[in-house]
């Protein structure tokens, strides 16, 4: 029975989200919320790879998300819809089911390429320089987009809603939610397998002691680049989904506040805990929504809550442990890689 937990979990998630949404049990708001949670899971998990597992401090996740959002939206609007800026659709809107995921991937690649701009200079040194450069990237991205008038500048860019309705015309389904769930499951799968791979074990080694890792033949510079590109690329995919969820993007929505929100999710869950990121992404998104009636006071309450959390639990909710470490009973269903190795070697746990 070991290892069936993951399949059951995915099945449960699909049964609770996509299926009721498809048959119309959920209204638009609930669907929006579920999709937003999925996007935040991708963001938190991908930033956790950089900040948690690798121990660097990137504060520019929103900018990479924004690059993905703009790339992806510009492509879908150009290719698939009748738009004031781009004119008639280049491809038949019937292709949207294929084109949309392809543009998500392109958005991710664009974000990864943009992140090279940061990775090349900042990984020459260690410490707070990545923080500083990624902070600057927030400003550079916002200022850059604001100065490109043809894509709306500070006014923003819209038209993604008709891409979604084009997909719905072919086959009515909660498409965005499906793609978001697929993307978040894929993200978690990739990150989980990456950090447990031979290459990925070097990532945690870099966090614990970079010099020792270097001595133990970890190519630290190359590995840091790979991790940073992977994390930022995933943020780009999340950005593409986010843009299509909102239907309207402007540069101000991918600025420091958004970066801070992702950071908060990572540290709330615990650095280096993937399940912690998932739990905190779900919890934090819901918390933000429940506190919405508070208006402005919401942004007083949230930092206050987090400061208190840091004071009483300075390692985040989970520390660097995963859920099965916290609740050992779950191990029966979710064996850790070490457990699998032990079992293969015939050792009783």
């Amino acid at each position: 029975m070991k290892g069936t937990g993951i399949r059951m979990l995915i099945g449960g998630v699909v049964a609770l989200t996509v299926v009721p949404a498809w048959i119309g049990l959920y209204n638009n708001y609930v669907q929006f919320l579920i999709t937003l949670i999925g996007i935040n899971v991708i963001l938190a998990a991908s930033l956790n790879l950089i900040n948690g597992y690798m121990g660097e401090f990137s504060v520019g996740h929103a900018a990479f998300m924004g690059v993905g959002a703009y790339t992806c939206s510009l492509l879908t609007v150009w290719l698939l819809t009748q738009d004031a800026v781009f004119g008639a659709p280049v491809l038949a809107p019937a292709l949207s089911l294929v084109i949309f995921p392809a543009t998500l991937v392109i958005g991710g690649v664009a974000a990864a390429v943009f992140s090279l701009l940061v990775a090349v200079p900042s990984f020459r040194t260690r410490g707070d320089y990545l923080a500083i450069i990624t902070l600057a990237v927030n400003f550079i991205f916002k200022s850059m987009v604001e100065n490109i008038g043809s894509i709306g500048g500070p006014r923003g860019f819209m038209g993604m809603g008709s891409v979604i309705s084009a997909m719905n015309r072919i086959l009515p389904a909660p498409w965005l939610m499906i793609w978001t769930l697929l993307a978040s499951i894929l993200t978690l799968y990739v990150i989980h397998n990456f950090v447990n791979s031979t290459l990925g074990k070097g990532v945690v080694a870099i966090r614990d002691d970079e010099i020792a890792a270097e001595v133990m033949t970890v190519d630290t510079r190359r590995l840091k680049m790979i991790v940073f590109l992977l994390g930022c690329g995933l943020a780009g995919v999340a950005g593409g989904l986010h843009a299509h969820l909102l239907g309207f993007i402007n540069p101000a929505s991918y600025f420091i506040l958004q970066s801070v929100m992702v950071l908060v999710m990572v540290y709330l869950g615990g650095m280096g805990s993937l399940s912690g990121s998932v739990v905190s992404a779900i919890g934090f998104t819901l918390l933000l929504e429940f506190l919405r009636p508070m208006g402005v006071v919401r942004w007083v309450a949230i930092p206050l809550l987090l400061i208190l959390l840091m004071l009483f639990r300075p390692t985040g909710l989970m520390g660097d442990r995963e859920l099965p470490d916290v609740f050992p009973r779950l191990r029966r269903y979710f064996p850790s890689p070490e457990d699998t190795l032990m079992e293969e070697a015939g050792v009783e746990a």
Partner: protein
């Protein structure tokens, strides 16, 4: 560009640079001692500007509740600055006592401290928004503003005062750090965190002192900023504070001289971009691209010294 225009720009750059340098010194001192990027410092500056506004209005007798006697006009500015310094110091020390020190004691990861600092910045900013509303506030005139015309260059007394007071304040900080026992203790902690307490230095007291000095400079910057640009916004801590942080990085974070030079450099760069034929919306783009370029060429900033890691 005639030399009058050029001089005008130099003066503008000096003024902007003075604000940035004053705030940047606060960032850099805390970093030097604690290796903590104190992201809440920009919002301490915001508290300084708003506190200065309320205190100034009170001293000018704008509220129903006022002092039983009138104050001579020349005392209002110094009194406002002093009282604002008390307020911001209280805020700075509260943040250190409530959040940073307990976390340090628990030996939490340094990054958790940075997150807490970010959260305190957000908290101050949005508490301001919640209490005072999104309306822009008008900073009162604490003294009579005058404009002189020196051969085509228009000079206000505000501008001269800003530059002079900043120089004096930074001179005082330099004296404090280089010539006093407290400054020596601060430099000792910055040099070796473990050995300093063994030499009988009370680390916590020095750290509190560092926050007080940083907060006082932020108060000074806040009041002078309000005097020079009287419209206060709740997010000015973000707008000006981050720029000052970038200035501290430009100069080499941890180095006080670097922060001052970085502040003025950034001030000049911004004024030059605005003065150049490029649209002024390019200001941030160019400023931060220059930052990137400098960090690529000199990762430790202009005056920074690379910390050696012992294996």
């Amino acid at each position: 560009m005639g030399w009058e225009t050029f001089l005008q720009h130099v003066l503008n750059g000096m003024q902007l640079g003075s604000f940035l340098a004053l705030i940047a010194v606060g960032y850099t001192m805390v970093y030097g001692v604690l290796l903590l990027i104190n992201f809440a410092h920009g919002d301490v500056f915001m508290v300084g500007a708003y506190g200065g506004m309320f205190i100034g209005l009170f001293l000018l007798g704008a509220y129903d509740m006022h002092l039983p006697f009138g104050l001579p006009a020349w005392t209002i500015l110094p009194l406002t600055i002093l009282l604002t310094m008390v307020v911001t110091s209280a805020v700075g020390v509260t943040i250190e006592r409530v959040a940073y020190r307990p976390l340090r004691r628990k030996g939490a990861n340094r990054l958790y401290l940075v997150i807490t600092a970010l959260m305190f910045g957000l908290l101050l900013e949005h508490a301001n928004l919640a209490v005072l509303g999104a309306r822009d506030r008008q900073f009162p005139d604490l003294f009579a503003k005058r404009t002189f015309d020196l051969g085509g260059v228009s000079v206000t007394n505000v501008r001269i005062l800003v530059i002079v007071i900043s120089f004096v304040a930074m001179g005082l900080v330099g004296y404090l750090v280089q010539r006093t026992r407290w400054g020596m203790a601060m430099r000792a902690i910055s040099y070796d965190r473990l050995a300093a307490p063994l030499m009988g230095i009370s680390v916590d007291r020095v750290i509190v002192g560092t926050f007080v000095v940083g907060a006082c400079l932020a108060a000074l910057a806040g009041v002078m900023y309000g005097t020079a640009f009287p419209i206060l916004r709740y997010d000015m801590g973000l707008l000006v504070g981050w720029q000052a942080f970038i200035a501290a990085v430009l100069g080499g974070i941890g180095s006080i001289r670097g922060a001052v030079v970085g502040g003025y450099l950034l001030g000049f760069i911004q004024v030059l971009v605005v003065a150049s034929p490029l649209p002024s919306t390019f200001r941030d783009l160019i400023t931060f691209s220059i930052l990137m370029a400098i960090l690529v060429l000199r990762p430790t900033g202009l005056f920074g010294v690379a910390r050696r890691t012992k294996v």
